[in-house]
Symmetry: C2
Subunit: 501 residues, 2 copies
C-alpha cells in the first residue's frame, strides 16, 4: 500500500515537473519571439484604434497571399522574376490600398529612368525629332535641320521614318523595345549581371539626346513629379548626372543650366500643385573616371550648393560598382569635401564579397554618407552593419531593382528581410522604375510588404518606412512635412475604413 | 609680399589639414575592415610558417577563380545551379587539394542519401531482387519467391526484367534515373521547392525496400564509411529513421535491430580501418506525425540510448519542414526528455519567413538543441541568432543541398556568408550528397570556400570548419580526435608543400 502511495506521489511530481518544464519552455519561446518582434522595424509605433482596424483588414489580405504561396509555392510570385508578376499584382486589393497609402518621400531614383516606355514613346511623336537606326541601337536628336553628327546609316525625320515604314504599329512596337528592360524571355536573355547591366546602361546612353533637349527635359521631369504625386509620394530627392541640355539651334548648355532647368520645373510644379513638397537634386556623375575628374565634380558640386542651396541635396557617383572604379580611389578627393557636401553614395550593390566593389561600403561609412544606396552586401559585414546603426546612416533599399539587375532571384532571400528584422534605418526606393515598368514607388512597398518582410510585419512597418523616408531626407522643415504626412495618413486610414470595413 | 606669405601659409595649412583628414580616413577604413576580418570564422587561428606557404598557394588558386568570375560573371559557377558545374570543378587543382584536406567529421547527413546512383545501380545486380515497374515509379523487394505485395503491373525478377528488355544499357540508364535528382533540364522541371522535394522524398520511399534488405543495409553503410574515409573525413554522425530491416524469408525486424545492424557495421569497419574514428546514429524519424507518436519515438530513443550508448548520439525529426508539423506541436513531448536526450533538430530550412515552419528555430533553441540542422532562416531572426551564439549551438550548414532543394539560387546569397562573417559556430555538412552526385563532403567545403565565403577567407576558415566539426560532435574523447586531426593536418600541409610549392 505504502509503495503504491510512493509510486503515485512520484508520478504526480514527475507530471508536475514536466508540466512546469513545458510551461517554462512555452514562456521562453514566447519571450524570444516577442523580443524579435519588438526589434522589427516599425514595431515601436503604436497604432490607433482606427489604424488597428485597417491593420486587421490588410493583414488578412496579406496572409491570404502568403499562406496561399506557402501551400502552392509554384504560384508564389515573389520567388519569381518581377517581370512575371508585375502586371498581375496591380489588380490585387492589397496593391490598390498600398497605392493609396501616403508613402512619404522617394529618396533613391535616377532622373531619366522614372517614366514608362509608353511615356517615352509619346516623346518620339514630337516635332523636329530626327532618328538614326543603327545595327543594334538607335540615336535621336532634336534639330531644325538634318543632323550631321555620326550615324552609320542615315539620319531621318522620325515622322518620315515612322510613316514610311508601312506599318506604324509595328514600327512603334519595335521602337518601344529600346525604352525598357522588360522582355518575355528574360531568363534566356539576361543570363548574368553584366548582360543586363549592359542593356540597362545602353538605355541611358540611347535616350540621352532624346531627353536632354531642353523642352523634353523639363516636360519629363514635370511628368515625373506628377507621377510621384499620383503615387502618393510627397517629396523627391533625385540623382542626376546633370547632362548638358541643348536646343534646336544646336546650343549646348552646362550642368549649371541643367540645375537651373530643374529649379524652373520644381518652382512651376510647386505652383501648380502646392500640396507637393518639392524636390532636390543629388549630383551623381559617372564613377568610371580618374580621381582628378572627381575633384572637378566636387568643385562643381560646391558651386551648385552655393548657387542652388534650395534644391541641391548632395553628391554621389553612379555606374555599375563592379566595373567602375572603387570609391577608395577617390577617397582623398572626397574626404576633403566631406564637411561641405552631403554624401549619398551607392555602395554594396554587389554580390562579389571581399572585392574592391564590396569595400565601397566601408568608404561610404568613413566618408560619413547620410544615406547609402542599396547596401545589398552589408549583410556580410557585421562590423559595418553595426557602424551604420551607430551612425544612423539610412539604407536606401531597392528590392525590385535588385531582382531586375540580378543580384538576387528569390525576393525572400533579399537581405532587406534581415535589415528590417534588426530594425535598421531603412527607406524603400525604386531606382529606375520606368525601365522595368513599375510605378514610381508603390510596387516596391507592395513587394517588400508581401514578399520580403515577415508574415507578421504589418501596417506599422509600412508607416515606419514612409516616416523614415521623411526623417532621412534632407527636407529642411521636418515638423512641417511630418505633420502633413500625419494628416494624409489619417485621411488614408479613414478612407479604408469607410470604403472597405 | 606679406599677403602672398599669408596666402602661402593658408595654402600649406589647408593641404596639411586635408592630408591629415585623408590619413585619418584611411586609418579608420583599415580599422573597420580589420575588425571585420578579425571577427570572421577561423581568423582567430594562427598559421605556422608551413601553413602560411600553403595558404598563399591556395589563395592564389582561389583568387584566380573569383577574379575571373568578377570579370566574366557569365562563367562564374557558384551563381549557377550545382548540377551545371559539379563535374567540371572536380578537375580543378583547388578542389583536389580540398579533397586531400582532413575535414574532421560529417555531422549532418541522412543514411540512405549518401552514395551515388552508380553505386545504387550495383545493388540492382544482386541476387533475389524483384522489381515492379509502375506508371511513374518502381518498387523493389529481395525475396526467395515472387512477391505477393501490392504491384499495379507485375513483379518480376530484376534479372529477367533487365535481360528481357532487349537493351540492357538503355534499361540501366532508365533505372538509374530513379536514384538521382540530377537531370539536365532541371530548370524546366524543378520549378518550385515542393516539386523538387516531392522527387527527393520519392527517392527515399522508392529505395526503402532496396536498402532495408539486411545484407544490403550493412553493405551500403559500410561503403558509406569507406567513401567518407576516402574523402578524408574521420568520424560520422548520421541521421536515420531507423527503418525496419528484412530478410529473404520475409522476416521484418524492429528499429532496435537496425541499430544493432549499425553497430555491427561500425565495429567491423573500425576493425578493418582502425584509423577511422567510427560513427554515431541520430535517431531521426518522420515529423509528419501526431504528438503521441513523437512520445513513442522518444521512449524508443531512451531505450536506444541505454542499450547502444556507444553509438547513439541523439534525436531529430525529418521531412520537409514547410509541409510537416511544426516542432511546436511536439514541444510538450520533447521538453520532457530534453535532459535525457541530446537534440539535433532540423530548423529553419525554409524561405517562409514568419510562418510556423520558420518558428522551428525558436523551438530548437528552447529545447536546447546541441546543433541545428540548416538554420537557413536564422539570418532573419537577430534575437535567435544572438541566442545561438550565446548558447554555442552549432549550425550545420548544407549549402549544396540548399541550392538543389531550391532555397537559394545564387550561392553568393547563401546566409552562410553572413554566419561566417559573424564568427558563428558553423560546421559544414552535405545532407544527401549521393542524390545530387556530390562526394561525401569535399564539394561542400570547396563551394563554401570559393562561392560563399569572402574573397579574403583563407586556409584558416577551412581549418576552423574542420575543427568545429570535431568540437561540436558528440565524440567523447575530444583530445584524442583533435590530436589525430592535428597530425593529419600537418601531414596534409607537408604534402602540399612537397608536391606543389
Amino acid at each position: 500500500m505504502c509503495a503504491l502511495i510512493v509510486i503515485f506521489l512520484v508520478a504526480v511530481l514527475v507530471t508536475v515537473e514536466s508540466h512546469d518544464e513545458y510551461e517554462s519552455a512555452l514562456f521562453q519561446r514566447t519571450q524570444l519571439l516577442e523580443r524579435g518582434l519588438n526589434m522589427m522595424l516599425g514595431n515601436d509605433l503604436e497604432l490607433s484604434d482606427a489604424e488597428e482596424q485597417v491593420n486587421e483588414y490588410i493583414m488578412e489580405l496579406k496572409r491570404d497571399e502568403v499562406d496561399f504561396g506557402f501551400s502552392h509555392p509554384q504560384h508564389f510570385n515573389y520567388s519569381k522574376h518581377f517581370f512575371d508578376y508585375k502586371d498581375e499584382v496591380q489588380h490585387t486589393q492589397l496593391f490598390k490600398i498600398i497605392k493609396q497609402m501616403p508613402k512619404g518621400a522617394l529618396l533613391h531614383a535616377h532622373d531619366t529612368g522614372m517614366l514608362s516606355p509608353e511615356y517615352v514613346m509619346t516623346l518620339t511623336y514630337l516635332e523636329n525629332l530626327y532618328v538614326c537606326f543603327e545595327e543594334e541601337t538607335v540615336k535621336f536628336l532634336f534639330a531644325r535641320e538634318l543632323p550631321t553628327s555620326d550615324c552609320s546609316t542615315q539620319w531621318q525625320l522620325m515622322r518620315d521614318a515612322r510613316y514610311s515604314s508601312g506599318n506604324v504599329e509595328k514600327f512603334d512596337e519595335n521602337l518601344k523595345k529600346y525604352f525598357t528592360l522588360v522582355i518575355d524571355d528574360h531568363s534566356d536573355i539576361y543570363t548574368d549581371i553584366n548582360i543586363v547591366w549592359k542593356q540597362f546602361q545602353d538605355y541611358f546612353i540611347r535616350t540621352t539626346d532624346l531627353f536632354t533637349y531642353e523642352p523634353v527635359w523639363e516636360q519629363y521631369f514635370y511628368d515625373t513629379l506628377k507621377a510621384l504625386r499620383e503615387d502618393n509620394v510627397m517629396y523627391l530627392e533625385i540623382r542626376s548626372v546633370l547632362p548638358g541640355l541643348y536646343d534646336l539651334d544646336g546650343n549646348v548648355y552646362d550642368e549649371m543650366e541643367t540645375l537651373a532647368s530643374y529649379k524652373r520645373v520644381i518652382d512651376r510644379f510647386s505652383k501648380d500643385y502646392p500640396d507637393f513638397f518639392g524636390a532636390k537634386i543629388i549630383f551623381a556623375p559617372l564613377r568610371s573616371v580618374q580621381p582628378e575628374t572627381v575633384k572637378e565634380y566636387l568643385q562643381k558640386a560646391k558651386i551648385m550648393k552655393r548657387e542652388y542651396a534650395g534644391i541641391f541635396a548632395g553628391f554621389d557617383l553612379v555606374g555599375q560598382e563592379d566595373l567602375g572604379r572603387p570609391t577608395k580611389d577617390f577617397l582623398k578627393e572626397l574626404i576633403t569635401e566631406a564637411e561641405d557636401i552631403d554624401f549619398f553614395f551607392h555602395a554594396g550593390e554587389t554580390n562579389w564579397y571581399g572585392t574592391s566593389s564590396d569595400e565601397n561600403l566601408v568608404d561610404a561609412i568613413v566618408l560619413n554618407a547620410r544615406r547609402i544606396g542599396h547596401a545589398f552586401a552589408l549583410i556580410k559585414h557585421p562590423v559595418l552593419l553595426e557602424e551604420v546603426k551607430k551612425r544612423n546612416i539610412a539604407i536606401e533599399a531597392n528590392v525590385i531593382s535588385n531582382v531586375v539587375l540580378k543580384l538576387v532571384e528569390d525576393m525572400r532571400n533579399h537581405p532587406l528581410a534581415s535589415f528590417i528584422a534588426q530594425g535598421l534605418p531603412v527607406v524603400l526606393a525604386s531606382d529606375d522604375p520606368g525601365i522595368w515598368g513599375a510605378d514610381p514607388l508603390s510596387l516596391d512597398f507592395f513587394v517588400t510588404f508581401v514578399g520580403v518582410a515577415s508574415r507578421h510585419a504589418d501596417l506599422r512597418l509600412l508607416k515606419k518606412l514612409a516616416l523614415n523616408s521623411l526623417y532621412y531626407s534632407t527636407y529642411s522643415n521636418k515638423d512641417k512635412i511630418v505633420h502633413e504626412f500625419d494628416i494624409r495618413w489619417a485621411r488614408f486610414i479613414h478612407n479604408i475604413q469607410t470604403n472597405h470595413l
